[in-house]
């Protein structure tokens, strides 16, 4: 009994003393800044190793600053980060897709990076990209990896169809001719091969791809003055093209990007539009396809110049972060030419800064990259609006209407304007 009493007293004393011992330990580290970095890439197998290395490299070079990754799945990060910010627990740094950027900026959750990073850094970013980031005179995100919706094509299928694998189509009209030839092919199991893949699945990223196609036909959501202008001949031409693709069976119906990647990986899709990093998924399914993959800039259509939305992974700093300077230091480190050169070897993307292009190895002289080096010229600015994700979903609805729904493109575009106008105004 006495023993039990003694043990109990010791236990209670230890429990009482524990918080103060822990607090003492923390006091010793009070000079250390911990930066919380909310990211989805940290959870992805392909990039996990790079992120761990990035953290250790940075901490070694910057004693007193620690990086703590908060990993969230891609689909849940935006919601998590916004809810945390509202609860006063905002992560210091947030990895953001371009389509979420307006939600963070317009809600006032993130800080103006142009003030934080300084002129020299900001001037190094390509002006077309800066223009797309600009909101109300400020730049609220640092482009980490960027690309337009490029066109990937399978050189082997080109050869089989009697097409020159070194001369991909430059316009949608040419692409339709190429797709006609490719669609005559069958794979080794006798399955159909699709000519040209354009995602129309009901997710925002597919909406971004549809908008890129509208840009390429000279259309879009607004006119030069920023007024909503959707019901026009160029957009009708874009959706008519999509309807024709579907009618001829060249495009897999209602496909998400992952469906197109799967089909491309197994040699059942000749050409398709995707973000550059989508190729990581293709290579994961079929690494042997690598030498047969060609890439080109977005296509022009209807006699218009090629266009695309800017697809990007951005780095944002929370307005409520207590360590903005340290966060800026980390972003500068992560986007330094040396770090970017490493990152770029793991997952393909384009470089948003001039200094990165100058230093990066195997970039400007890489035959895979060369056809899209002038990608910045194809970028069309997208209105920064809190409802943009809904607009993207509406674009996929219209794409589905003219394909699986059989709705006349002119009517579909007219209806689209009616639905989207209140969102954009």
């Amino acid at each position: 009994m006495k023993l039990v009493k003694t043990v109990s007293i010791i236990l209670v004393l230890v429990l009482i003393a524990l918080p103060s011992i822990t607090a003492q330990g923390q006091k010793d580290d009070s000079d250390t800044i911990t930066l919380n970095f909310a990211s989805w890439s940290i959870l992805e197998k392909g990039t996990q190793g790079y992120f761990e290395e990035l953290k250790s490299d940075f901490e070694q070079e910057n004693p007193g600053i620690e990086i703590e990754y908060q990993g969230y799945p891609y689909g849940g990060l935006k919601t998590q980060a916004l809810i945390m910010a509202n609860a006063g627990e905002a992560p210091d740094i947030i990895q953001s897709a371009r389509s979420w950027y307006p939600s963070f900026v317009i809600g006032g959750y993130v800080t103006d990076m142009s003030k934080l990073m300084g002129d020299a850094y900001m001037d190094d970013i390509f002006p077309e990209i800066l223009a797309d980031m600009e909101y109300d005179g400020g730049i609220y995100g640092i482009p980490w990896k960027v690309c337009p919706f490029v066109m990937f094509y399978n050189k082997e299928l080109f050869r089989q169809a009697g097409l020159n694998p070194e001369q991909p189509p430059r316009t949608y009209e040419e692409a339709l001719e190429y797709a006609t030839e490719i669609s005559k092919l069958r794979d080794s199991d006798g399955n159909k091969v699709f000519g040209l893949g354009q995602t129309t699945g009901a997710v925002p990223v597919s909406g971004g791809s549809v908008l890129s196609m509208m840009f390429s036909f000279g259309g879009g959501l607004t006119d030069e003055n920023g007024n909503v202008d959707i019901d026009n001949a160029n957009n009708i031409a874009a959706f008519s093209f999509l309807a024709e693709l579907d009618e001829k069976g060249f495009n897999p119906e209602g496909a998400l990007l992952k469906d197109l990647r799967n089909l491309f990986a197994i040699g059942r899709l000749g050409m398709y539009f995707d973000q550059m990093w989508g190729m990581t998924g293709v290579y994961a399914i079929n690494p042997d396809i690598r030498p047969d993959v060609g890439m080109s800039n977005p296509l022009g259509g209807n006699g218009k110049a090629p266009g695309s939305t800017l697809e990007a992974h951005l780095l944002l700093v929370s307005e409520d972060s207590r360590h903005k300077e340290a966060a800026a230091k980390f972003i500068e480190f992560a986007t330094s030419p040396e770090q970017i050169s490493k990152y770029y070897q793991i997952t393909p993307f384009l470089l948003p800064r001039e200094s990165q292009v100058e230093v990066a190895e195997n970039y400007s002289d890489n035959p895979f990259i060369v056809p899209v080096l002038d990608y910045a010229e194809t970028i069309n600015e997208v209105k920064k609006d809190g409802d943009m994700e809904n607009v993207f979903i509406e674009l996929t609805n219209t794409a589905q209407e003219v394909t699986v729904g059989g709705v006349d493109p002119a009517k579909a575009v007219r209806d689209l304007e009616q639905r989207v106008r209140p969102l954009l105004e």
Binding site: T79, L82, G107, G254, L263
Partner: protein, 299 residues
């Protein structure tokens, strides 16, 4: 003596309340309070924005907006069609299966366990599984249908507005069927064998014994399990979100999808809560009517 009895009665009551207290607090705090708060939010202009702590009271504006856009009516229609389709098919199939397995063969146990497998599979996994099976280009369903010569070209089941809702319903039926099957089977096993024997002596055939003995005895089980299935189908979210995301052309945009899209994509919790409250009210109303119409049987 009387005083002691009253006192002890009071103590008993207090003791009972003390025992109930934690449960009441937990259920009240974690179930009723959030529901109450959600109803309140539905009357507010509640858009998530930094530094905003007060949200203006806007009365029925959120409901009005949803009604004017037609989103609510559309989502109700889709949800109701889905629920009806799933519940009717599940009930019929579960009844057939449970009657079959009630015959008590030795191999039944293995089969019963196999049928239960789908019930034990997480809904998200079920959604991914069926998405792959329905896939137009390399899904097994198209492959089998093509090989059997039943179709001449692949069908994009999840990409067509005519087939998408039905395809999600198939996945839901596969996932939910074992539950009702199990309930009906246990109900069947509770029916006294003597009833059937007496009926047989009286010259009753199997169809008559099904309608005059089996069904009346199963009434309470059917009543409860159908209500559970209705609620499960009404609030089905993962199957829709993973398999179609509400598309194509909003043909699978249920109340659950509409709530999620407004609240967690658009961060407009006011509209999201208005959808959820309408949905809750409809479900409560439906349950009341259902319980009134299908009164509990007593034997």
């Amino acid at each position: 003596m009387n005083v002691i009895t009253n006192k002890s009665k009071l103590y008993d009551k207090l003791f009972g309340l003390a025992l109930l207290g934690p449960a009441v607090l937990i259920v009240g705090g974690f179930v009723f309070l959030p529901v109450f708060q959600s109803v309140l939010i539905s009357f507010q202009d509640f858009k998530l924005a930094r530094g905003t702590s007060s949200y203006p009271w806007i009365g029925l504006d959120n409901y009005k907006l949803l009604w004017e856009q037609g989103d609510l009516q559309h989502a109700f229609w889709i949800t109701f069609s889905f629920m009806l389709m799933v519940v009717i098919i599940i009930l019929v199939f579960s009844m057939i299966l449970s009657l079959f397995f009630n015959q008590g063969k030795s191999s039944d146990r293995t089969m019963r366990s196999l049928i239960l497998l789908s019930w034990g599979t997480p809904t998200v996994i079920v959604a991914l599984l069926w998405s792959w099976m329905f896939q137009a280009q390399y899904g097994i369903i198209n492959y089998v249908l093509l090989k059997l010569g039943l179709i001449s070209e692949s069908i994009s089941f999840l990409a067509h507005p005519d087939t998408a809702l039905g395809s999600v319903a198939v996945a839901a039926i596969w996932r939910q069927l074992p539950f009702m099957f199990l309930m009906l089977l246990s109900g069947l096993q509770g029916i006294p064998k003597e009833m059937y024997e007496a009926a047989r002596i009286d010259g009753v055939n199997s169809v008559q014994s099904f309608f005059y003995i089996t069904l009346p005895f199963l009434r309470n089980v059917i009543r409860a399990s159908v209500l559970i299935s209705i609620i499960t189908s009404f609030k089905q979210f993962p199957l829709f979100w993973v398999m179609t995301g509400g598309g194509p052309m909003r043909s699978t945009e249920t109340l659950a999808i509409l709530t999620y899209r407004n609240a967690f994509v658009n961060m407009n919790f006011g509209i999201g809560a208005a959808v959820a409250t309408s949905w809750l009210a409809a479900l409560v109303l439906f349950s009341i009517i259902y319980n009134r119409v299908f009164k509990e049987a007593s034997y």
